[in-house]
C-alpha cells in the first residue's frame, strides 16, 4: 500500500448474473478524505459494485483496488482498512448486543471502547438485549457502532438508511459526521451508495450517478449545484419560441416557462431578458433533482 494510492479505484468493472448485466464498464476514483456517493435507482448496480470492493464478488472484467490493494488477493489487508454497513444487517440472533460487539471486535486490531460506550448511550441500546429481537433501525445502529469503533480509514455504506424511520436516519448521518469523522480529519474516507439523496446532501463531496450498470455522470457536489439550474420566466404574453436545445428540460405552461439547464444558465438568462419577462428567477438544483434530471434526459 502506498500512501498516495486512492482510497478506492474502480476501473472498467463489469459483472453479470447469468445474462443479466449488473455492472458494465464502471470506472471511478475516490481520493482519501473524501465523502463519495454512488447514486442509482434500485438495480442500477450499486450493491454489486460494493460487493466487489469487499471481495464478496469477483470482478468478471476490470479491477478494483482499495488503497492500492486487490480485495480478491489481499482480502485480509483490505478488510483491515475498511468497515462496512450493509443494507440488510444480519447478526447471530442468539447473541445479545454486548456479545455481538465483542465478537466483531475480536476480528479487529483496534476498537475504541469509549466511542462504543458513547454510541450505545446515544442510541439507547440495551447491551443485554438479543440481536434477534432488535428492530431494523436498532440492528443498523449496532452495525454502525461496529463500523465506527475499529477506526478504519474507509467506511463503506450500502443503502444504510433505506427502510429506517426519519429520526434513526437523521441520527445515523449525524453519527457518521460526528463520530466517524472525529479522529484523523482529512483521512477518513466515506463511500456511500444510496437513493435517499437529500439526507446525505451536505455530506457528499463528489458523486457518480449510475444507471443500468453504467456511469451517467461523475460530479463534484458544489460544482454540480452551480451548473445545474432551474430557470423560471413569466411573460406578459405567451413565452417566446426560442431554441432551447441546450436545456435538459423545457416546460411551457400558459405565460410561464421553466427550464432545467446544465452550465448554460447565464447565456439562456441573457436571451430570456431580451424578451422582457415580467419575472425571471433561477435556483440551483439539489443533488436529488440533478439525479432525476440526469436520468430523465
Amino acid at each position: 500500500m502506498t500512501s498516495s494510492a486512492p482510497a478506492i479505484q474502480i476501473e472498467n468493472l463489469s459483472y453479470s448474473y447469468g445474462s443479466a448485466e449488473a455492472v458494465n464498464g464502471l470506472t471511478l476514483t475516490v481520493q482519501p478524505g473524501r465523502c463519495y456517493a454512488l447514486f442509482g435507482r434500485n438495480g442500477a448496480g450499486k450493491t454489486t459494485t460494493m460487493k466487489c470492493l469487499l471481495n464478496l464478488l469477483r470482478p468478471q472484467r476490470g479491477h478494483v483496488r482499495v488503497f492500492g490493494l486487490d480485495p480478491s488477493k489481499q482480502e485480509v489487508g483490505v478488510k483491515r482498512l475498511l468497515s462496512y454497513v450493509p443494507d440488510q444487517v444480519a447478526f447471530y440472533p442468539w447473541m445479545n448486543v454486548r456479545e455481538t460487539l465483542d465478537y466483531l471486535a475480536s476480528f479487529r486490531e483496534r476498537w475504541n471502547r469509549k466511542t462504543e460506550h458513547q454510541l450505545l448511550e446515544r442510541f439507547q441500546l440495551d447491551p443485554a438485549q438479543r440481536t434477534g429481537s432488535l428492530s431494523k433501525g436498532q440492528r443498523t445502529q449496532v452495525a454502525l457502532i461496529a463500523a465506527i469503533c475499529p477506526e478504519t480509514d474507509l467506511l463503506v455504506l450500502d443503502e444504510p438508511t433505506s427502510g429506517l424511520d426519519p429520526i434513526v436516519r437523521r441520527e445515523f448521518i449525524e453519527t457518521v459526521i460526528g463520530a466517524y469523522q472525529d479522529g484523523n480529519l482529512g483521512n477518513r474516507t466515506i463511500f456511500v451508495s444510496t437513493h435517499l439523496i437529500t439526507e446525505f446532501e451536505g455530506l457528499i463531496d463528489e458523486f457518480t450517478i449510475i444507471d443500468r450498470g453504467r456511469v451517467v455522470a461523475t460530479l463534484d457536489s458544489d460544482h454540480a449545484r452551480h451548473r445545474y439550474q432551474k430557470i423560471r420566466a413569466r411573460f406578459a404574453q405567451a413565452p417566446p419560441e426560442l431554441d432551447f436545445g441546450a436545456a435538459l428540460r423545457v416546460r411551457r405552461e400558459g405565460r410561464e416557462l421553466e427550464l432545467i439547464v446544465n452550465g448554460t444558465g447565464p447565456e439562456l438568462l441573457e436571451r430570456l431578458r431580451e424578451h422582457n419577462p415580467e419575472a425571471l428567477t433561477t435556483e440551483a438544483l439539489t443533488l436529488e433533482e440533478i439525479f432525476v434530471a440526469t436520468l430523465k434526459s
Binding site: I177, E201, R225, H226, Q229, T282, A284, T286
Partner: protein, 143 residues
C-alpha cells in the same frame, strides 16, 4: 468567554458552495453584531452535526475566515471573532467592495430599479443593519 450560538442556514438551492455560505453568514453575523469580537464560534464537530454537512466543509470555511482575518484560532481553545477584521490595505478593500457593488448595480439594472431608488434602498438597508447592531449592543449592556 461564552460560545455564542450563531444560527447558520445552509441553502442547497442557492448554487453557492456550502463552505462559502458558512463564510458569508459568519461575516454577516459579525457585521450585524450577532457575533461580537472575542466571542467564540461553534466548534467544528457540533456545527457540522447540526447542519449535517461534511466536517471538512466547516474546517474549510473556518480556515477561509481565518485567512480573511475575520476569526482567529487559539490552539486548544477554539475559534474566536477577531477585533480588527481586515489586514488588507484600504485600496484592496475598496477594490474588493467595488467588484461586489458592480454586480449589484448590474442586477438593479435588470430589475429596472433606477439610480435614485437604488441609492435610497442602499441607505435603507444600511439603516437596518445599524439598528440591528445597536440592538445587539444594548442587549450586551443589559446583559
Amino acid at each position: 468567554m461564552t460560545e455564542r450560538q450563531v444560527i447558520l442556514q445552509i441553502n442547497f438551492k442557492s448554487g453557492m458552495p456550502i463552505y462559502l455560505q458558512v463564510v458569508d453568514q459568519v461575516k454577516a453575523a459579525a457585521a450585524s453584531g450577532a457575533l461580537r469580537p472575542g466571542e467564540m464560534l461553534p466548534s467544528i464537530r457540533p456545527l457540522a452535526e447540526e447542519l449535517r454537512v461534511n466536517r471538512n466543509t466547516i474546517a474549510k470555511a473556518y480556515s477561509e475566515l481565518e485567512s480573511l482575518g475575520v476569526i482567529e484560532t487559539l490552539p486548544g481553545r477554539g475559534c474566536f471573532l477577531k477585533e480588527n477584521h481586515s489586514g488588507l490595505r484600504k485600496e484592496v478593500r475598496r477594490k474588493l467592495l467595488i467588484a461586489e457593488i458592480d454586480q449589484v448595480i448590474v442586477q438593479a439594472h435588470h430589475l429596472q430599479v433606477a439610480r435614485d431608488e437604488f441609492l435610497e434602498l442602499l441607505h435603507e438597508r444600511m439603516d437596518v443593519l445599524d439598528v440591528k447592531r445597536r440592538a445587539s449592543k444594548d442587549h450586551k449592556k443589559e446583559g
